[in-house]
Symmetry: C2
Subunit: 663 residues, 2 copies
């Protein structure tokens, strides 16, 4: 694997910065650098290339896991793995000719729930079975279907891989090496910036019409229940108090209670209500109090009001929640360029949750061109167990996954759910990561059916069972020619940093990832495999880490695939434009340049679950290409030199590691 690096940006390289070097010189130089790095940092290395081997092992593991679940893995890294990497000169972007320059948006579907499209009829209806908590698919004769069963992941294999990753992440010399590589990446970027900042600005200015305001931005991490700001929710509740005073909104002990009676029992008149009383905003007293923070979802501290207004499953059949969400969507559609990926909850304590949620969405037509739903699954086994909703962990998994497999097997079993799932792009796993984990996951941990402990199982336990089922579900849906789900989890916000090992193996992208700053090896691996990190510095600022100490700007400099998101506008934002507010603060506090802003926005679009045909329209026809060739500045407003720099830097790093590959 050899290539000539034609630099389109300006940077001093050591040595002979300004001379183009031949590829053989170059390879020699790269080897020198790497060996030098290793000999400095790796004095306890077993053999000469121990560090590369470990990094390679980790990359290959990630590749295997992404192949299994069918989630995103970067082209460039994949090419190195497949040993067919061909360097494409980043200089030729000036003569890109195959760019589709039509700016026509894809035809919006009039029937986005496909209610008028007949359900598919499948020849084969398979036999579904669950073994040790994981779905398996059998043919009529009761045998595993080979083409699907290759996607099965056993608990033993996961534990082995996890253990290997713990070893890699904790290896002292490797930590030193990765820390040094990351510092190198950061310094290289700063050097690049000092020499090319004006050129970047110039490239941006030379593009007609496009600027930060009219490039696409996706809020990659936002909870549906808190996607409106506090003033919006306040106005909505006030309006409903006035117009629907006599609507029955609750049933308690067989007694029907109206909106008016509810507020009367709280002693509140519409005029009285204000955001102070509503009390959903997180001020400084939420710092390091994720427990307290969750109460902030209850308006006026009343879970009743949360139940009435921000819930899909209640006496009014989620009418109000649908209405306010649609108001949020309307504002986004008016803004045109702002998009969101809100999370709706599936708890897993009842089996009809999916079905109800699907009916709710379709009945109220909760849909927008500017939004794509994900499903969040809270890790609350212990609470359901205590409340006797479920008696073991297997029931939770059963409630969550059985409806999905059944409807994939036989669409007519629940047509609404079938149609709803076509609009869902991913699964998120959420909860307070800082809670102590009493039960570790190892070979002695009971299997789901036998897991009847009062304590919650560990993060890793959840991840294995979620991932392995999703991988199988995706394989099944691919077979059925249906959309698949991305596994995009909350990880590394707080708690044990090793949660990030789970997400390195299983997640397409993560929310938060703050704790990557404590794990240099994993941080470097996230870089090499371009795992999306959706960061919410305002949320972090309220809960965990002061704004100016947030690692986002450092991650961005190093070239990690970070995007900006709001998490909970209800709790954290003051203006009507939560995402713009999030960008504004980041730009100001960290002094980001217009190119930085546009790069963050570009990352957010790439990380998002919007369809390829939409991304084609938003980013340009070559958007799947990872270098400057894939960048259409007239749509992204990111200068080609920035993209070229990122691409070539990644290729450089990968070359160091892959030089021993198949040696």
């Amino acid at each position: 694997m050899s290539f000539t690096l034609e630099k389109s940006y300006d940077i001093f390289m050591i040595p002979n910065s300004n001379e183009r070097d031949t590829s053989s010189d170059r390879n020699k130089r790269i080897s020198n650098i790497v060996i030098e790095s290793f000999s400095n940092g790796g004095n306890q290395m077993n053999n000469e290339y121990g560090a590369e081997k470990q990094l390679l092992e980790a990359i290959l593991l990630r590749y295997e896991y992404m192949e299994r679940s069918g989630n995103f893995f970067p082209q460039t890294t994949e090419a190195f793995i497949k040993n067919n990497f061909v360097f494409e000169s980043q200089k030729c972007y000036k003569s890109k000719v195959d760019m589709d320059t039509s700016y026509n948006p894809p035809e919006p579907s009039q029937d986005h729930w496909m209610l008028n499209t007949p359900l598919p009829k499948y020849d084969k209806i398979f036999v579904l079975t669950r073994e040790e908590g994981v779905f398996r698919i059998l043919n009529e004769s009761g045998k595993y279907i080979k083409e699907l069963d290759t996607y099965f992941l056993s608990k033993a294999k996961y534990l082995k891989d996890y253990e290997k990753m713990v070893g890699i992440v904790s290896d002292g010399p490797l930590k030193s090496l990765c820390y040094r590589r990351l510092s190198y990446l950061q310094n290289k970027f700063q050097l690049y910036l000092l020499r090319n900042e004006q050129r970047e600005l110039h490239e941006q200015k030379s593009i007609r019409h496009r600027d930060f305001y009219n490039i696409r931005k996706v809020d990659t991490h936002i909870h549906a229940a808190s996607s409106m700001n506090q003033k919006h929710l306040l106005r909505f509740i006030k309006r409903k108090m006035k117009t629907e005073n006599d609507t029955v909104v609750l049933e308690k002990d067989g007694k029907k209670i109206t909106m008016g009676e509810t507020f009367k029992s709280l002693n509140i008149e519409p005029y009285d209500l204000n955001v102070d009383i509503l009390d959903v905003h997180a001020y400084k007293n939420a710092f390091h109090r994720l427990d307290k923070f969750n109460h902030k979802y209850n308006p006026i501290g009343q879970s009743t009001l949360r139940q009435i207004f921000i819930n899909t499953d209640n006496y009014v059949e989620g009418k109000y929640f649908a209405e306010i969400l649609k108001e949020v969507f309307k504002e986004l559609e008016e803004s045109k360029y702002q998009h969101i990926e809100p999370r709706l909850s599936i708890y897993g304590h009842k089996k009809n949750e999916w079905s109800k949620l699907a009916k709710w969405a379709i009945k109220h037509d909760v849909w927008s061109t500017n939004s794509k739903f994900l499903i969040q699954i809270p890790r609350l086994y212990d609470i359901y167990k205590e409340k006797k909703y479920i008696s073991n962990f297997d029931q939770l998994l059963d409630n969550i996954f059985t409806p999905l497999f059944e409807v994939t097997n036989n669409p007519s079993s629940d047509p609404d759910l079938f149609r709803f799932l076509l609009q869902i792009t991913g699964i998120d796993s959420v909860d307070d990561e800082s809670k102590h984990e009493y039960i570790q996951f190892d070979k002695f941990t009971p299997s789901p059916k036998d897991y009847t402990d009062a304590e919650n199982p560990s993060y890793t336990y959840y991840m294995y069972y979620l991932y392995s089922n999703i991988a199988m579900l995706n394989a099944f849906r691919r077979l059925r020619n249906l959309n698949t789900l991305s596994f995009r989890l909350h990880s590394g916000e707080t708690g044990h940093p090793h949660h990030l090992i789970d997400s390195f193996l299983t997640a397409e992208s993560i929310c938060h990832g703050l704790l990557l700053r404590k794990l240099p090896v994993l941080q470097y691996l996230f870089y090499l495999t371009k795992i999306g990190i959706s960061m919410s510095p305002l949320a972090n600022n309220s809960l965990l880490i002061p704004y100016h100490r947030n690692p986002l700007p450092e991650f961005l400099m190093k070239g990690l695939n970070v995007s900006l998101s709001t998490d909970d506008p209800l709790q954290f934002h003051l203006t009507k434009e939560a995402l713009m507010e999030e960008y504004s603060i980041a730009v100001q506090v960290w002094k980001l340049s217009p190119t930085d802003m546009c790069e963050l926005a570009l990352n957010s679009v790439r990380q998002s679950g919007f369809e390829d045909k939409i991304k084609y329209y938003w980013l340009g026809s070559n958007f799947k290409n990872e270098g400057a060739l894939g960048n259409d500045i007239s749509r992204t407003n990111v200068p080609d030199i920035r993209i070229a720099f990122r691409y070539e830097t990644l290729v450089d790093e990968l070359s160091h590691i892959f030089k021993i590959y198949k040696k």
Copy 2:
């Protein structure tokens, strides 16, 4: 002067924190504290009460200057000076009975420019004369009018007072003392907060309807030319390019140039334009480059476009600038609770500037219930001199002040200007403070007529001539029963910290005041005399000091009279709601509580130039009272305990200092 302090808030005081102390005990205790402070900090003190004497002298000077100009001086401090201070118990606020609770806004005037009201006719028309750059007013027999002439301030007196202030501000022991008092204030506040934060929240929640969103906020420092955000200006220019392509917008060398021709010469089509090309936003490359920053006012770097779009005096008679300003006003009126005090420029290089500006405002009806104009005067003598607009400093003063005095003397001499002035609330002095001052102001500095140097005179020179003329003008306008002008200057943003001495003497309130952090004595004096400080941390962040190092939160804790303002939304803000964006960032980065936010907003209303009848409606009928008695939480949303704490703390400090007064 003795009083009983009845605490309405909860704080440990040393000693006997929880017992109410008798007034005699208290006085003894206060004396102990003060003497102790002095004996620690003041080992070079001439006599026992040297520090108090110096502080007293400074306060009395400030009082004298504010009396002269008729600008705001706080009631409480004044009462100490007049030796008639009576402590009003802050506890009785629960039984405030004389509060006017009507929420009716004052009748909006249909004829705000009073075009249908005949001009006043005065019996006496005075003889106006200018002596050494300062206006004097004579009767027909050529004698000074005694009642006005007491307001005259001579250059010698100003220099003497300034010098005395330099001595006080630079006194080492006094610096230590004030530094310690300020630290004490900050710590006392933190102690107060730790014990009362929940009570504050409770008080806020107990108030119906009112919250941060529906309390009044004034953007106390914003330049009219940059009061729209970049996206707004972009849209406006694009619209005009499309709809007024053939409108003549310029005349160059006798040739008339249309809008279309202007943009053609720049090679720009309406569709092409974006915010990157517009290039008015200040990114990190403006840091410590106030010179560069001023160029950011020129869209696309073209002063021609600034001339066309954001200027009151051009070929289209300021039509476009009026239009876009009215769009800004409209948005504010829709927001209802957000107000601004934009600055319009008078340069002083032509005598008809005032007249033209007045005609512009009235012709285009540039007026809003949500806005009050101030006039900013740039300190650009050197540029006008170089361009030969003027030949000495006196001509600048003549151009600025003569129209004002003449129209006050005889309204019919310029009816538009007369009516325009009724709507103006103050004068601001602006420019880059960091420019080196080649010419100091001392007794040898030439008087204005003889000042023909190529260099700009010093800040102090400007301040003396502006202040002394404004003081005389205000006296004259009071005599005529007309509105007077506040002197509210840019001061202490950068450059020599001693600019703050000028503003301590002459200004009602200041913009920026960052450098107060370098002058503890002056900072303490600003506290004692409650001088308004309008701070713009986002602007500072771009130009001078990183956000998280801004002194605003420290000033707020100590109890200085600070407000939040945007300075230049065109350059610094991204969302449509610049002021809310400014608050949002402050709240997030500094973790301000809802009470802090509301206190900042309250300060902004108090500092603003809106009429008393408006403030009566906004803040409550007792708003002139400075303690909790003057606070109507149902309108301000600031808890009484916070106001009581601020008030009692100030009374405490003043008691320390005034105990030697008239001894």
